[in-house]
Symmetry: D3
């Protein structure tokens, strides 16, 4: 009988039972986790502030290593550290953004792959600023919405605008691939601006029709930041989100895109945003998203692709 | 920056932010909306009485016009009016039916396309009576159940019988196409009666197997009343309904049927029934159904099929 | 049989079925209602953004006039108008405050008694600014917390600070009486500052011990703005709030304070804040608070104190 | 160790684990239980249809006999039978009333004390008709509302009217005592009609001020039918009800009234109505009301007042 | 008009309105139902203890016989008996297992096909012990997980181990086919042990890719015990379970496997486990699973395959 | 402006933001916290396994020191350590008890006052075993139930028996005072056994009638272990518990008993049990209980009774 281990509801909840560290502390790990419990930039149903803690708890059902039915072992020997959450102010968005960028830089400096737990999608802008020195940075975004709006409801920093702001601030951010688009209403100016920059906009109907072609359209050989907006998934799969749109990704489809993006590129960072645990009393939303993060890490080559 | 506009949770909730009118008032619009918050004719889990208000609130995330990713603009210039709800009595079904028919007639007289928000499915009978003068009226019904029962639980007016009563009362109602049938138990007499009238009964398995063939079986060139029972959709997509049946429509499949029915015919009216918001704490049921109504309107030619 | 009237779940929900108006429109009423669906200044559990709409719906069970068991009739002939909600930006607190003050001024100019539906407690500051010209303005605040903090979590505009900001901005705001204080932890600087200004700070234990003495400590003959933070009530009575504190007001105790404050003074305005309907699935929180507003209006002399 | 017994969640749920019988079957018991899962006569939030089953399940935590801390034993040897529910039609109120009266008569004929589980309060009228032959029948009603309205929302049979109808139909129903009145709005005609008949109307404020005086005002030495509308209780105690009113009975106060009424009179029947389990996710509403029924039975002399 | 029948929420809830019997009583039926409300052997989110009662209630929407759209009639004349639940101890697992085996034997002796309502999956071990005398017993298991672990969290009797224990205890249990495997993490020792015994392990990806091949891999002509772990289904279809795994069975896929297994073999028993109704406020989980049981019974040849 | 601090939903949740330690690690603190997420010994509605984590999260709204309205400062300088949870097995109660006792001993050895977060009430037995060496140990128990049953549902270790087992095992456990008793049904043998040992049994009605006399009946000058069963509180105050009983403690009454017990004695340990966060969607149950623990610590003299 092996060492006793907690059942998922037992013990203080850090991500994957990792040691708890400070973003700027003295630590090193393969994977560094940082939460950004900020959701006041979304314009509908709040709750993403509760996601970092919910994902930590849910991750306890998916602690690596993972032995497969076929004998493979994944994420064996890969180390994790949980740097907690950015300490956020109330109501002061600029201060929030500065602190988020600073903490993300500290985490990034101490690990091979930082994993960020949002928060609404506005957090991707300050997070991406921590990658200002990555040459030819590509973003692969799973999302029902484009999030490239210049101004919405009188602000430039809502969850509709993170990638617009990032492109303005980061000359090294050369390209964005957005997969899963299917909102009923797009901002024409945002669509035009994204197209003008040469971004790849892939509607969800393309995913449904020909997933292989979509995978082929992903970047290859690049430094890639993965941004997973959980409203990219079908709301039947993922009810816990502010702005559900019908006919989204199955888990398997989302995983196929993430796996291809991870395998063909170097993943420099990863965020998962817009998860609102309070909107899903079944609790499956966070359980599935914790697993999605883990399976994405499995594809990111952290264990040297080891398959024992 | 454009005129300030409410976030979805802001402002008094009328459908699509339309002006509030009285059914018999002095108004004209392309689309007139009328709620029928009546659910005492269903035999299981109540809550459809709350649907008109929930759909109004949910519609605020889907206010037209709709700019697509491809540059199309839909429902631009189409006007809406919200005629509120029928003022219903308690416990007096005949009076309820009379008032519903009267209000529906008033709304119908003032708009090109009336949209009715149920309520349980029994409301389709009094609503259809407001269309007694439409020649060769066809009904296209999305539904897991047939709703053509003569008598159930000692009443002729439950949500199992609206189309039986409508066929008795309306000589002009010549045909019904029901798509999505998959209840475990059908009333043999009702099936026989529907078949005897030449109705088209399409089981859900046909939709799954060959959607194109199903679309071909829809009427063409007719005056069509669309009746959307939300239990036609898969309960994973649409949990908020009294009587869920497995293996139903995806949103896309439902939309394909509604689009085909709308494009090939003249839509004279539309109801959406059996939505029970209280049974779906995620709130997605009403959000998706408000969008479904909007997308159906997009297909109904109200804007002259304009695609800018 | 009188004119048909909607059951509470029927019809578009305006406050007390009042006509819907614009804040700056052409209208006059005894009571003008304005919602402020803003809750991003609270530091714990969001949801107060949903309160204006929830209070409108709940008010439909409490539409005046009110005939008592003893034959009295209250609020007969008193007119209401619902000015909807302030159109709020995302994430731009200063703009939010300016718009709120502007809309509140417009409503105030058109009615005898404006009723404001928050939102978190931070909205009381911009609302009070609309009363900058009321001489010798007194505030009576029901609250578990003092809300007089200078800076919290790096902001001066959170829901902990509205009265501090108001006192700074409004020379005419001469005095605040806070009733129900019982937080576990007070900001010593805030307590000192409030005491230095001569404010009356009444702990909840005083209410429990001697309600009469508390009523005697309320101002008399003043222009009073009532600010009702629903966390003043006991969480058993009022579960739907972000920051519950034990041993609060019963409904009757709250009503006693509000009635005394209203009867002995001239009520110039009223807000009710921190109601989070999403935290109370029983729905009683908004039902009781809609009634509380109505009963407070009954005590405010709007009908000349008529008791038929 | 005694005979194994089910934990409360185990076994088919009959009331207090009583044998299941038919209303008109061949059985005899001290207490006969009949459910009336009818709630379409209420005008707000449905759910009372689920109460009979919820009360059966909840009763399994309160199965007699009851040994007290002081050594008393209550309800020892008292026999129960569960006659199931009235088989109700859909949407046919008159038929519902006839069947309810018939089943209640059958149950009454086979037991010493029938217990009826509503349903909304409209069921008390057909239930009382089963007591048409009880001389000088008194009703003691716990309720926030009077329920003596002639017509509401165009019907004479809503949950606002059961006692008006009963008084019209039953010459032997000589008097009603209603305790706990506190609605915001009373129907003046109903109040006048009740007063004209000499009914005793006791506002909740009297209970709070002087419970002893209220108990003294109860009838003595009469045949009493107890009608417990759970909205008589405070909504903090009892959240699961359609129309909560603040400042109601504590459990102890309600029990004091019921105990006094039971001890001083002969209880001929008992109903508990307006319990909506779907509105209380904590589940305490049905647990407490099942106990309330049991404790009322303890006071009704069924065991000869035995206190071992 | 036929004999009045209860609406689904009416009447004491036995499975399919069957007569209530004792496991060891004097009865005979085609189908005997036994609940095992035991869930303390699962290691995450409890609630399966509530499943037997929830399934009984849900079954009332699916009471046979079933007339199909095509005129077939299924389960006509098939008789049911509800033997209630095993009377379980607290905290004494061995005693629980003994009682469960004993009650299952009694039920099995009185019917053609016993249906067991769990409970967590650990109950399958004591249930299978009641089939120790069935020659060449095969199990067909729908499940996301293997449940063949030797020891987990220091126990040999958790819901991860029922089939390991059964294989040890029952020499006649010759083979297990597990369909739907997709956990993130398998116990390598358990996989090896199952493979060493020649069990058939079918991952969910095989079902998705080629359902026909999966059906072909099922046993034929055997005595089969069906064990349905509801976490085999996709959590979008079936949210009410402790340990959801993404990308599971649709209802139709699950039904295809169960139908094939039932048609090609002799079904000697059936259990459905791991249903946690408390985790699905929409209530569809139990409704769909009650129907799944019924449709499986339709395929088991109880009515001689009669299709009228 | 002071050091930035997390909002309550930010950061990894340890109790009161204490450093995370191992029970047997190298640490010292005034207060050591240990969770026991074990709830399989309760016989009704599970969920107490989720309480340790919920209490940690809720404690983040109540992090000391506490400045009062009157200038007092409480718990200043008092240090906390969070030792996480006991690592529990599945389904092996004896092993669970041994591990719990061992971990409790380790925590006790490293702090002045250990705080234990249950779990159901059965955990008090293994926790008390860690105090076997405390001379003349007294227990003060807040509870609706006696929990002194010898055997219930065939086990000696359910949540009905912890104090019976403790008295058998611990010769030094000389006396128990139980306050708040009000179950409907007591086990006569248990009552007799407790009385035979000279325990003090105080029914809730005594608390309501004369709280002062109850406080006088508490022990004085003893080594006291406080055991807080949250069902001692009124279910309106505390809905999140398995077995609610009406007419319980208000928060203030509970606090009065705990304060008196703490002030008059030496508190050697403290547990809080039977909190089921899953049964209270309002979240107030854990918020209030975290505060109750903190306020009890305030009274335990940890800061030398300092009142600045």
């Amino acid at each position: 009988m092996s060492t006793p281990a907690h059942l998922p509801y037992g013990g203080v909840a850090t991500f994957a039972r990792a040691p708890q560290v400070q973003p700027g502390g003295d630590w090193q790990a393969d994977v560094g986790v940082l939460g950004v419990p900020f959701d006041i930039a979304l314009g509908f149903r709040p709750g993403a502030r509760f996601a970092p803690r919910a994902l930590r708890e849910a991750s306890l059902r998916s602690v690596p290593p993972f032995s497969g039915l076929d004998g493979t072992v994944r994420l064996a020997g890969v180390t994790f550290a949980d740097a907690g959450d950015v300490v956020l102010p109330s109501l002061e968005p600029e201060l929030m953004r500065d602190r988020t960028t600073a903490a993300a830089r500290e985490v990034r400096a101490r690990c091979r792959l930082p994993v960020f737990l949002g928060g609404d999608h506005s957090v991707s802008f300050p997070l991406l600023r921590a990658f200002h020195d990555v040459p030819d940075l590509h973003v692969v975004q799973l999302d029902a919405h484009l999030d490239f709006t210049d101004v919405r409801n009188d602000t430039r920093y809502s969850n509709s605008s993170p990638f617009r702001r990032a492109c303005e601030a980061l000359p090294n951010l050369t390209h964005i691939t957005t997969v899963g688009l299917r909102g009923l209403r797009f901002d024409p100016e945002a669509v035009a601006a994204a197209r003008a920059r040469g971004h790849t906009l892939i509607p969800m109907t393309d995913v449904t029709r020909d997933l292989g072609a979509v995978l082929d359209a992903l970047p290859t050989g690049k430094n890639v930041y993965l941004s997973i907006d959980v409203d990219g998934l079908d709301p039947a799969v993922l009810p816990g989100t502010s702005s559900p749109e019908p006919d989204g990704f199955t888990y398997a489809q989302a995983m196929a895109v993430l796996a291809a993006a991870a395998q063909r590129n170097t993943v420099v960072g990863l965020d998962l945003v817009e998860l609102a645990p309070n909107l899903d009393p079944s609790g499956r939303s966070e359980l599935l998203m914790a697993r999605l993060i883990m399976e994405t890490l499995c594809e990111a080559g952290l264990d040297g692709g080891r398959r024992d």
